[in-house]
């Protein structure tokens, strides 16, 4: 099943989120910005970060451990994300027409993946600040023990990672949840619905986000990507499952025109070879 929400629908959803915002707590706090609230998972080869900057380039983090409800579905957190049981991956993207970010469960019966992406800008994600601003979710958790992985930055549960607040994340771009939608009042008033959603509010980093979810996979495609740093969050979205392994992949999708030129080039090479052979 593929479900894609347009930016227009996403913005309407954000309006709903704003209506829920009063249910969580933002308190005055003297918490200093510290960064390092979460650390980055490594990519294949032990890389602390990856770079995907040309068409056809890709990066992968294989056989990663996925907690069953790290992104959504844990009733004890009122459905919200739990940073310390999921994973963040830091990546640098070039100016690309489309970047596909996909999570595939090794066993769909064990793990229903979800993911979210944020634009960071000209530096890697700094990990945010624990408890920044004294935010507390409706389930009584501070950030990022519980955090808002699907709302726009600035919404409750995001200050810990937001530029100018506790982190250096510039914009939330989109999220995908392959597990069931969370029906109750969520921890931060955020939407935790099955499907893939564009949550970007500007064209500064991406023109749009598309994607889809299905049994054992969740996928987001960033369209017309601005060069810079991004961070990807992956976690499980079905508390009824056991949790399991997954592969994360990031691929710069070649443009159709590029593919055509590539095919012509290959054909020319083959023709040249056969001519030389004769």
């Amino acid at each position: 099943m593929i479900r894609v929400l347009s930016r227009g629908r996403a913005l309407r959803a954000l309006g709903l989120i704003a209506a829920f915002a009063a249910t969580s707590v933002l308190l005055p706090s003297d918490a200093a910005r510290a960064a390092g609230a979460v650390s980055m998972k490594t990519w294949d080869g032990g890389l602390a970060s990856e770079t995907v900057d040309s068409a056809g380039d890709s990066a992968a983090a294989s056989a990663q451990a996925g907690g069953r409800s790290s992104m959504s579905g844990n009733a004890a957190l009122n459905g919200s994300a739990w940073a310390h049981t999921g994973g963040f991956w830091s990546i640098q993207l070039g100016a690309l027409s489309e970047v596909k970010i996909r999570v595939d469960a090794a066993n769909a019966a064990e793990f229903a993946p979800g993911l979210a992406v944020w634009a960071i800008g000209d530096a890697a994600f700094d990990g945010g600040t624990t408890g920044f601003g004294g935010e507390l979710s409706t389930a009584a958790f501070g950030t990022p023990h519980s955090f808002n992985a699907t709302g726009a930055l600035g919404n409750p549960g995001t200050l810990w990672m937001q530029q100018g607040q506790g982190g250096n994340a510039k914009e939330s771009l989109g999220y995908a949840i392959s597990g069931p939608s969370y029906a109750g009042t969520s921890g931060w008033g955020e939407s935790l619905a099955n499907g893939a959603y564009d949550t970007s509010v500007t064209d500064t980093y991406v023109a749009s986000v598309t994607g889809g979810v299905g049994s054992g996979f969740a996928e987001l495609s960033l369209i017309d990507v601005a060069p810079g740093w991004y961070v990807i969050w992956v976690g499980g979205t079905d508390h009824a499952l056991a949790g399991g392994l997954f592969d994360l992949s990031v691929t710069a999708v070649p443009e159709p025109g590029t593919l055509w030129m590539f095919a012509v080039g290959v054909a020319a090479l083959r023709i040249g070879r056969s001519a030389r052979a004769r």
Partner: protein, 787 residues
């Protein structure tokens, strides 16, 4: 791949590994960094050995008294010493007759034994084997969704006494009390009575001095009252104090940080653990005072504590000490607790014409408890490989193997270190942790995850049923269901909740009479891990706000863990919430919670958990990897949850175990000082098996013959062979017969005791009285004792 691309990738790899290489920074984000026990402060007990009027005047003698009492089988009514359940790295590694059917199930009065995983009967005198463990088994031990194959509320614990109704003791002669004994209705094989088994596994006594309270449910009060385990809760508690040449009065005693003394008073009178029912400490004193300590047990001449008092020589091991208990007590304790000469005020044993008790007998509970505590306070194991290793600037051990270092980090990543915190690897070390946090903040948290570490005796915890108030140092990890054993959620014999948490909730609701322990009044709200009340207008499900009514905390707000949490609900708001059927703000997480145990020497202290349901550390790792057995409301879901990485990464699991093994102090492993000890015969099942038991017990013809483990006396230099772990004793019995010695306890009259002067006026009394009067005159004049 082009060479330039390859070079770039190599550079990225190096860049990626750099954080791993530089001080383990890749893990530095996650929570507390385990820390050495060397130099960790032991909680002080003011007035015990210090101050102007100490109770103990000769600490070395008190420690000797405590060690003798701890290992002396004469303390029990039928051959059980304290050490009988704490002889192996401070714990119990016996495998025969160790099953308590349905444990401490509060609703079951006629418990039945469960069958083993194969469906075979498993009853009294059964011998545990590898296949019995763990007691909760699924077809996929690492997977939270495995199909349950077997699950039982039986408990692997410690065989104790045959029980019976107490009649009398003898001042001399054999070790057994006179009791009305008969085969137990539960613990018997055929017609033969077998020893009863305690309902919870025996935890190690090593490092227990650091625990704010002891026993799995915290029932050993932090405050020692001198006559029971219940601290301030016991309205009848007190000790007899000589106040003048011919006056004595019962006074309340209130020694803080003396939980081990409180604990020591429970087993010797318990008719499952050590005693016939109805015995008291005065009777025990009557039995012991004139006896030679350890009169039937060999004492090594090089025993680190008892050697100077031993009758043994380097050439010949002998039984007992060259003194008696009376003498040791009078040497160790201040005269005002034992020097009163008259009798009459202190009661008398049952029976016509029995000699009334003396002051020293009436105060024996105090002597016993304090001596045991002072001995156990010497059992600190701070010389493990982990303790010895140098650490880098981040506190990461540098002298462990690569596997052990990875295990150290995975221990943190897997959230183990959030509960097993501080130098003792438990938050139950409330005072020690609070004293260390300022100088060692990394040991209690990091930028990412910090555990509030103060002297607060409660916190607010993340549990399945919603944030709940819970005693510091306790947790429900989902190993059993709450209805199997309520643990901290139960009440004492006076009807008061065992937990500080339930007292605190009542206190918040204005019910001050419900607070029966100190420290509850001192809880500072802004140091709770999760705040309780916020000074905001908006109603909020998880917190009290102005909508219900909040008031500022009474204490100062300096260095608050959560500054915005410096508020309390108004008593009316708290009471209303507590009474509400939708209560979400005044929840208690005490039910089914147990004291978080130390992990030091953990490789030797199996079986594990309060119900002894796991035999190996591998089984423990499986348990935590799958996220526990059950999901009760009070379960700490934030620390016990399915761990997918561990499930698919056997290396990390094994490395965590490798790290845990670095916590073993070789002095414990080889029973070197201070962990050396006298010889001990430990009842270990009965001659026969679970279907047939021999009837040749000298105690009673209807009781099964005891089999014994012979634990030889060890001197300060320890034993030649290391202690083995619990699992190694689960091998089929034909292999392990050499570990099981079948014999009866000696029944021959022991050697005549030394002179005992209990019934007679003591020669030192006039001197003591004069000293007391002189001290009192000095006190009234306000003069210093020494100038």
């Amino acid at each position: 791949m082009t060479s330039s691309k390859g070079a770039l990738r190599f550079a990225r790899v190096v860049a990626g590994l750099l954080p791993l290489l530089v001080a383990g920074a890749a893990f530095a984000h996650f929570g507390p960094v385990p820390i050495s026990l060397v130099g960790a402060p032991v909680p002080e007990t003011p007035g015990l050995t210090d101050g102007p009027d100490p109770i103990v005047v000769d600490e070395a003698k008190a420690i000797a008294l405590g060690k003798a009492l701890f290992w002396d089988v004469n303390v029990g009514s039928d051959g059980m010493a304290c050490a009988s359940c704490h002889f192996h790295a401070g714990a119990d590694r016996r495998v025969s007759n160790q099953i308590a059917p349905q444990g401490k199930h509060p609703l079951v009065h006629d418990p039945v034994f469960s069958t083993d995983a194969g469906g075979a009967a498993r009853g009294p005198n059964a011998r545990l084997e590898h296949g019995d463990f763990p007691f909760f088994q699924t077809d996929a031990p690492l997977n939270p969704l495995g199909n349950v194959l077997t699950s039982t509320d039986d408990v692997v614990a410690s065989a104790g006494t045959f029980g019976g109704e107490f009649t009398s003791v003898a001042k001399h002669g054999g070790p057994d009390d006179t009791c009305e004994r008969a085969p137990d209705s539960i613990f018997h094989v055929g017609v033969a009575g077998t020893r009863r088994v305690e309902p919870r596994n025996a935890p190690t006594v090593i490092n227990a001095i650091f625990n704010f309270r002891n026993l799995w449910d915290g029932a050993a009060n932090n405050v020692f009252n001198g006559s029971s385990q219940w601290g301030d809760r016991d309205p009848d508690a007190g000790v007899w104090v000589r106040t003048g040449p011919a006056t004595v009065e019962k006074q309340r005693l209130r020694l803080l940080n003396a939980s081990l003394a409180s604990q020591a008073l429970a087993p010797p009178l318990d008719d499952v653990e050590m005693s016939c029912g109805g015995r008291d400490f005065a009777a025990l004193a009557r039995k012991l005072a004139c006896r030679r300590p350890l009169e039937d047990q060999e004492v090594h001449p090089d025993d680190s504590v008892l050697g100077p008092l031993a009758r043994s020589t380097p050439a010949q091991l002998e039984q007992g000490l060259a003194t008696n208990y009376f003498t040791l007590i009078t040497q160790a304790f201040a005269p005002k607790y034992w020097s009163y000469e008259a009798r009459g005020e202190f009661g008398a044993p049952a029976g016509e014409g029995a000699l009334p008790y003396s002051q020293i007998e009436a105060n024996f509970a105090m002597f016993f408890g304090l001596a045991i505590q002072l001995y156990e306070a010497t059992l600190i194991s701070d010389d493990s490989r982990f303790d010895r290793s140098a650490v880098d600037v981040d506190g990461i051990p540098t002298e462990l193997t690569a596997s052990e270092r990875n295990g150290f980090q995975q221990f943190r990543v897997a959230h183990c270190g959030l509960c097993h915190i501080g130098p003792v690897f438990t938050p139950a070390a409330v005072v020690t942790n609070a004293m260390m946090v300022e100088a060692n903040p990394q040991a209690f948290g990091s930028e990412t995850f910090t555990i509030s570490t103060t002297r607060n005796v409660v916190t607010r915890a993340s549990v399945t049923g919603g944030p709940g108030i819970l005693d510091t140092g306790f947790a429900n990890n989902g190993v059993t269901l709450e209805e199997w054993d309520r643990g901290l959620g139960a009440s004492d014999p006076f009807g008061h909740p065992l937990s500080f948490a339930d007292q605190y909730l009542q206190r918040l609701a204005g019910n001050t009479a419900a607070v029966v322990d100190p420290y509850v009044e001192d809880v500072r709200p802004c140091d709770l891990d999760i705040p309780l009340a916020l000074n905001v207008a908006t109603p909020y499900a998880g917190f009290f706000t102005q909508a219900q009514g909040v008031i500022p905390q009474t204490q100062g707000t300096e260095n608050c863990f959560i500054p915005v949490g410096a508020f309390l609900p108004t008593p009316a708001a708290a009471a209303a919430e507590l009474a509400s059927p939708t209560n979400a703000r005044m929840l208690s997480a005490a039910d089914g919670s147990f004291k978080i145990p130390t992990l030091r020497n953990v490789e030797l202290t199996g079986p594990y958990m309060h119900n002894g349901s796991m035999a190996t550390l591998e089984e423990v790792l499986e348990f935590y990897t799958r996220g526990g057995n059950f999901d009760p409301d009070a379960k700490h879901f934030g620390t016990v949850f399915p761990q997918v990485d561990l499930r698919f990464n056997e290396t990390n699991r094994q490395d965590i175990i490798a790290f845990l093994r670095t916590l073993t102090d070789d002095r414990v492993r080889y029973e070197r000082a201070p962990f050396d000890h006298p010889a001990l015969h430990v009842p270990h099942g009965h001659v026969g098996n679970e279907t047939s038991v021999e009837l040749h017990n000298a105690l009673d013809p209807e009781l099964g013959s005891d089999a014994f483990l012979l634990i030889p006396a060890v001197g300060a230099s320890g034993r030649a062979e290391p202690l083995e772990d619990f699992a190694s004793f689960l091998a089929p019995c034909e292999i392990c017969l050499d570990q099981q010695i079948f014999l009866e306890m000696p029944q021959d009259p022991p050697p005549a005791p030394e002179v005992c002067v209990v019934p007679e006026p003591i020669a030192t009394a006039p001197i003591a009285i004069a000293t007391l009067l002189w001290l009192e005159r000095r006190r009234r004049r306000g003069g210093a004792l020494f100038r």
